[in-house]
Homo-oligomer: 203 residues x 4
DNA sequence: AATGAATGAGTGTTCATTCAT
DNA sequence: CATGAATGAACACTCATTCAT
């Protein structure tokens, strides 16, 4: 008596999963570019080719996608950061790995913004970003000297590191050629030793 | 009994200027309390006692008041910055003076944002904001060691310093009590010497 | 020292009042034809030539117009009914006067429904109707024999009288020529004496 | 062990019929509880365990189920009416039997409408409803005095009687306890002898 | 047949902006 | 200039209906 066993997902489930992701990705972009309030559900679905109705088949409200983004962001980013955190023997090497990973990421993603479009948006207060912030803060605490970590203002520090990485990342994307290693080096040196420690750019 | 003689502005001009300012102040409050998107033009004019129509006599759009607000901030902040720049003998003292001035400034302005309100929406790159950036960059160049200044990536550095100041400034406003000196010290030490140089917060 | 005194309303106020009324009338029709739920705000304003926005300048919500209708209906109908009630010496004469007034009213209003259109709608449970119902009930109580009024089921009776008047009124409008007096006579006789008392229609 | 042999309907047909009925019953409940407009197709099928798609296999639209419901009521009620008509010897006894049958019928069906729910939306003139009207008119003609019947406006009368029965029936359902006999008595007496003939309600 | 995801017109409502007064 | 009523595009969201599976 034979029975065919389907492993994995049927076509329907595949499409569903794909749509869910598509909406999520579109929402990430749109929220990033315009902010939560300014972004409309139509802005989001327009990028997916789906209908307004479909949006509500997958998420119950605009707020729900926003929340889902936090989950997803944390879910995708955290392993990367955690991997670096695990490998890293000290704070500096963690920082360098994390910043490099981030710069690689945005360099790879910059595609859409490549030409003419709005400048790389200031993504802010996305739940996703808050999750990343927490991750970074925790990694800072974990990889820093125990004493140091206990004595430093970790919120200010993590916030500053992220702010610098964002700012420099944005500048990096605006320059040709895009120099990930150089930008990362700048960030790491600034954070680790301040101005006197800064790399000298090539002429 | 004598007539008062207005020199400079007629009564008409005075009211006009007063209305402009009233709208600007009301807008600052309202945007602070509800965020740019959520705030309505009616929310703004309601606090001025003027009519919707009058609003459009003074500003062409909601966006324009918003920009005027950023502009106004920058316009008022630039002279302060320049004064510090003139006084400063070296980079660190300039940096400290500038950051302290900035923190004093935002602490004074924060009134409406006081507690729990939405964060100020992302300030767009007003021409005046760019001017502030240039101001800082120039001051960095001027107060730094000639050699150092020539060899460091001043755009990245000025951008980073501003980003850190903004980030820490925002954090500062969210804490009670608001500690301008402590926050400024954090920024200066981070920029001047990186993590090892950071102040230890009081327990 | 002369002063022109405007008596009455300025042009603005006139238009405002006219619009308010226009919306109310349109709402009366639309709610009548489609019912509260099915009726849309757009259905209402379409008949006024105003814009959606204007609707909300006059009424805060769809529900509010509906409620306003009750007020208005009571306000307009009650005086008529009360006048009859005051004049009437006995129940029968009141009933005849009220029914005749109602038939005159619908005969005069039938204009819009005249040709082709939907049959005269069953307006029901409009707050307006409830107000009229109460009026009729009170008038019944007032003009009936004291003993009788106390002993009869006034809710059933008023409801029945209104139902009959509506039904016969509808029939009346569908016949040519429209015979108000005859229809009213039918209703009065049926209510006053039942089938044996009914008028014999002319052949 | 033998095969069960279905006579008449195959299993397929049985399920089909069952589904049709299930949808009809669910719709009766849902329309009763929320009103036609507020009720959604999903509300209906949710109670049947079927899918939205299945709904449309049985009825072409939400409106169609609604009409089917009225139709169904009329179809089931007509034979009852005809039976009374056959039995009745005179007009009054027919009227009483018919009204009582109607009140029994709606009292039995009222289940879902029980307390506080929206009133059943206005029943449209289903062909079956018109048939009921004709039935009543014919029975009036048949059971009335030949002379009387010839001389009275039978359309107005049948319409009035039905309107009164509906109105009082609705009122009856809204009172506790539900008093079929009392309500029927009211209707019959009103139609047969008008106000002076009305029953006196118990105190 | 049955399923349930997809569709998109439609809902009540808001609000920036215009313009007659 | 000031006023505030009018405008209509836009919003988040719903739901009857269709249709690929």
């Amino acid at each position: 008596m034979s029975q065919i066993v389907y492993i994995g997902l049927g076509k329907r489930e595949q499409t569903k999963a794909a749509n869910r992701t598509a909406i999520l990705e579109a929402a990430r972009e749109v929220f990033g570019e315009m902010g939560f309030e300014a972004a409309t559900v139509r802005d989001i679905i327009r990028r997916t080719g789906l209908s307004v109705g479909a949006f509500y088949n997958y998420y119950r409200s605009k707020e729900e996608v926003f929340d889902a983004l936090a989950d997803d962001g944390a879910r995708r980013f955290r392993p990367i950061l955690q991997a670096q955190s695990a490998k890293a023997t000290d704070f500096e090497s963690y920082l360098r790995a994390a910043v490099t990973a981030y710069f690689d990421f945005i360099a790879a993603e910059q595609g859409p913004w490549a030409e003419g479009a709005e400048p790389m948006p200031h993504v802010r207060n996305t739940p996703e970003m808050l999750a990343v912030f927490e991750e970074v803060r925790a990694a800072f605490a974990a990889t820093m000297d125990r004493n140091l970590a206990a004595e430093v203002d970790l919120d200010y520090l993590a916030g500053s590191a992220i702010a610098v990485a964002r700012e420099v990342g944005e500048g990096m994307l605006a320059r040709r050629p895009v120099d990930v290693a150089g930008a990362a080096d700048f960030v790491v040196r600034l954070i680790m030793g301040g101005v006197p420690n800064l790399p000298r750019p090539e002429r």
